[in-house]
């Protein structure tokens, strides 16, 4: 640290190389060195071209473009196709890295002041957006929202996004992350299994328990969940809270109110409802200890009736899903006296794309994001990754969708304006982790619903002390 210019860069390279050689092998400490912050790097962009309507950010032709994408459930073929298109239009030379280890690969670069131009910061090892934003590492993406859209220059990009995209990507009042993939959350089931057994889609929680009981009696599990990652069962708990308590309950949690969980009848009812599944033995055997792939595959093998997940599920399970499985989406069923209708769903944008504040070619990074919000690129994504984007009607009608995605689209249409979204996982990582731990204990029957409420409220109260809590507010 401390040194500037060439010296800093040279040493960082040396450290990287020596790490590769295994010189730094001291346990627990070695990796810290690789992440130690470097000096200011000399980042010379290719200069800026004149700003025009076609070129709202002033991309200079013939520059470089450095793209890093998370290579997870969506693969990274779509990004390669985009980069080729971008290079063709702007004469750039783009470098591409598809990886699962976003944090490990990018942290040294953020610290060293030489981050890439565009990053798809997703996956289990993503760098938390709240942390990046706090450190002033993210470019303000508002200019992208206000730029003319590629398909219809008379309209702004902002007007073509599905509602919630901007809110979802806002940190401390600044729009910093373009969450590109439109995701809906809820339960999933096999249309084939349900038809075979003569079960109907449950609309209330009692009906849901009924189907689970029938499933158990038929020798298969009722509810499967991805036990090793309590993130998924939290989807069910939080959706039940939102539907019973309405949007106010959602906001109370995101705004870290002192009665977000405590003394909130909707929260207690939701947790008790989920606990009922556990208590009545309606969980798929062993599901509490399984990874997401293990439990999802078991579900694909008809070992459970339902599984909670987001709409990436179908693409993630492509290989494991039987041809005639007929994957179907189900909004989380209703508890009595719910404020939101059955059709209401948690829907929102995921897969955040960011442009680092210190990107060498920031104009190109912004232009890349604007291009992503064109129909052409959006269609490429839908084809390659079997998922919808945040661009309204962003897929050519000619593209045929798989059954799960089709049912998700139908659910989105049915939900209309009744969509909601939680922001606390993006805002408060520690609180999210604590609530996940509590849910894991609940599902394993080691704690009771009241204890869950207590622990969740404690996590909220702790997060309320975060200095960022002042900025992160929603209304």
């Amino acid at each position: 640290m401390g040194s500037t210019g060439e010296g800093g860069l040279g040493r960082r390279d040396l450290i990287k190389r020596s790490a590769a050689l295994g010189l730094i092998t001291t346990p627990a400490m070695g990796f810290l060195s690789a992440c130690a912050s470097g000096g200011e790097a000399a980042t010379n962009g290719p200069g800026k071209a004149a700003v025009t309507k076609e070129n709202p950010f002033g991309v200079a032709k013939g520059g470089k473009l450095d793209v890093v994408v998370f290579k997870g459930g969506f693969g990274d073929d779509y990004a390669k196709a985009w980069e080729a298109a971008f290079d063709k239009k702007w004469g750039t030379t783009s470098s591409h890295l598809g990886t699962q280890e976003i944090a490990a690969k990018l942290q040294p670069r953020f610290n060293g002041g030489n981050p890439p131009d565009v990053v798809d910061d997703a996956g289990a090892q993503a760098i938390k957006i709240d942390v990046l934003a706090k450190g002033g590492q993210l470019a303000d993406l508002t200019p992208v929202l206000d730029a003319p859209s590629i398909d219809d220059p008379a309209r702004k990009v902002r007007d073509l996004l599905i509602p919630g995209t901007v809110e979802q990507g806002t940190q401390g009042g600044k729009f910093v992350a373009l969450n590109y993939v439109y995701t809906v959350f809820g339960f999933w089931y096999s249309g084939k299994l349900f038809k075979e057994k003569g079960w109907t889609e449950p609309k209330t929680w009692d009906q849901f328990l009924d189907v689970c009981t029938k499933a158990r009696d038929a020798g298969i599990g009722g509810l499967a969940h991805q036990g090793k990652y309590p993130y998924y069962i939290n989807v069910v708990i939080m959706d039940l809270i939102a539907k019973k308590g309405g949007l106010d309950a959602v906001k109370a949690i995101d705004n870290l109110e002192s009665n977000a969980f405590a003394d909130n009848p909707a929260a207690l009812a939701a947790v008790e409802a989920v606990y009922e599944v556990v208590e009545k033995g309606l969980l798929m055997a062993g599901t509490n200890g399984l990874t997401h792939t293990e439990s999802q595959t078991a579900w694909n093998q008809y070992k459970a009736a339902f599984i909670p997940s987001g709409s990436w599920l179908e693409n993630e399970q492509l290989k494991q899903t039987p041809e005639d499985f007929d994957m179907k989406f189900l909004p989380v069923p209703l508890l009595p006296d719910s404020k939101l209708p059955f059709e209401a769903i948690r829907a929102g944008a995921g897969e955040p794309f960011i442009v680092p504040e210190k990107a060498a070619n920031k104009p190109a990074g912004l232009e890349f994001l604007r291009s992503m919000l064109s129909r052409e690129w959006s269609t490429v994504f839908a084809q390659q990754a079997n998922s919808l984007t945040v661009l309204k009607d962003g897929v050519d009608p000619g593209v045929s969708l798989r059954p799960g995605t089709r049912s998700a689209v139908a659910a989105v249409k049915a939900a209309g304006t009744h969509t909601f979204q939680y922001l606390y996982p993006d805002w408060y990582s520690e609180m999210d982790t604590e609530i996940q731990n509590a849910s894991n204990e609940l599902m394993a029957k080691r704690i009771q619903p009241k204890e869950w409420i207590k622990r969740a409220q404690a996590a909220v109260d702790k997060a309320a002390k975060d200095p960022n809590a002042k900025n992160n507010r929603r209304s």
């Binding site: 640290m1 060195s33 204990e441």
Partner: protein
């Protein structure tokens, strides 16, 4: 050439050899330690080069951190059990394959098929920790697809509707992990002890046998004292491994960088990584790193001191 000049020349010659390795060592080992120490006094987020100096705040917070204290406790538990179990098993097996056979006309030898056992025992050492995690993930899988559960269910010891959730059980998870480490380590230390045993002259054993010593007596009176140096070194190595445990815990247990269920398998390294990469509290994580460093160093010194004995020449 004068005596002094010759001496100086030799020193220069030696220094010439040492400059490069020393520089590398200072740059890549010592300097990061110093940097980490420095960062532990800041509120560095890990994602940006800017931070403020906060003094001892991180260390004070560390004292209050129940998760970290729990992790420390787990590390200490492992510190007792990992070296003890591994070394005892390795010694036992090494003795059996080298000197445990019935004393025949040929003098001292291992049990029948010992050369085969030696190879088999070494197998686990060849596997990387990542493979090990996958392998034992399948063993401990929490439904009937798991090796252990499948076996127990077939034997009728476990109800198929309630399989044992090995790694999701707060009382079992740490022991399950311990078993993996021991399983992995025994083979290597067996080979290490075997080599040491083979360097013990045969006539020492023969003399013991002639004096009428049984297997146990031969082991405790002859083998163990002669192997003390190797045992001591092994204890330090295994102790450091027990202080780390990062790879296994982070891949096999639930939670961000492992540690689940509900912090019951947490070790210091997993808490450190979660704070470092996920919570954006890198300065705080650096303080943990410093604590780990100090503990590991104290541990090495204590073990080496406490187990010091007179060297037996042979």
């Amino acid at each position: 050439m004068s005596h002094v000049a010759r001496g100086r020349g030799r020193a220069g010659f030696i220094a010439g050899f040492l400059v490069l390795p020393l520089a590398l060592y200072l740059t890549f080992v010592i300097w990061p330690y110093i940097q980490t120490f420095g960062y532990s006094f800041t509120n560095w987020s890990g994602q940006s080069p800017t931070f403020d100096f906060v003094g001892w705040e991180n260390y004070a917070a560390l004292m209050e951190d129940e998760v970290f204290r729990g992790a420390l406790w787990h590390n200490l538990l492992l510190l007792v059990f990992v070296p003890a179990t591994t070394i005892l098993l390795a010694l036992f097996f090494a003795f059996m394959v080298n000197a445990g056979g019935r004393s025949g006309a040929g003098g001292v030898r291992g049990v029948r098929g010992s050369s085969f056992y030696k190879i088999v025992y070494f197998f686990p050492q060849v596997l990387s920790l990542a493979i090990l995690a996958v392998l034992f993930g399948a063993v401990y899988r929490s439904d009937e697809g798991g090796l252990l559960n499948g076996l127990l269910i077939r034997l009728g010891l476990v109800d198929a509707g309630r399989p044992v959730e090995w790694l999701n059980d707060p009382d079992l998870v740490l022991w399950c992990l311990l078993l993996v480490v021991v399983w992995h380590g025994v083979g290597f230390y067996l080979v290490l002890f075997s080599a040491a045993m083979q360097s013990v002259p045969k006539d020492v054993y023969e003399a013991a046998l002639l004096d009428g010593a049984g297997r146990a007596q031969t082991f405790f009176r002859v083998t163990l004292p002669l192997l003390w140096d190797s045992v001591q070194t092994s204890a330090v190595y295994l102790g450091i491994a027990a202080m780390d445990m990062f790879v296994l815990v982070s891949t096999m247990t639930s939670g961000q960088f492992g540690g689940g269920p509900d912090h019951h398998s947490e070790v210091m390294a997993t808490v450190l990584m979660r704070n470092f990469l996920y919570f954006g509290k890198s300065g705080y994580a650096c303080a943990m790193g410093v604590v780990m460093l100090v503990l590991t160093m104290v541990l090495s010194v204590v073990v080496l001191r406490a187990t010091r004995r007179d060297r037996i020449e042979f």
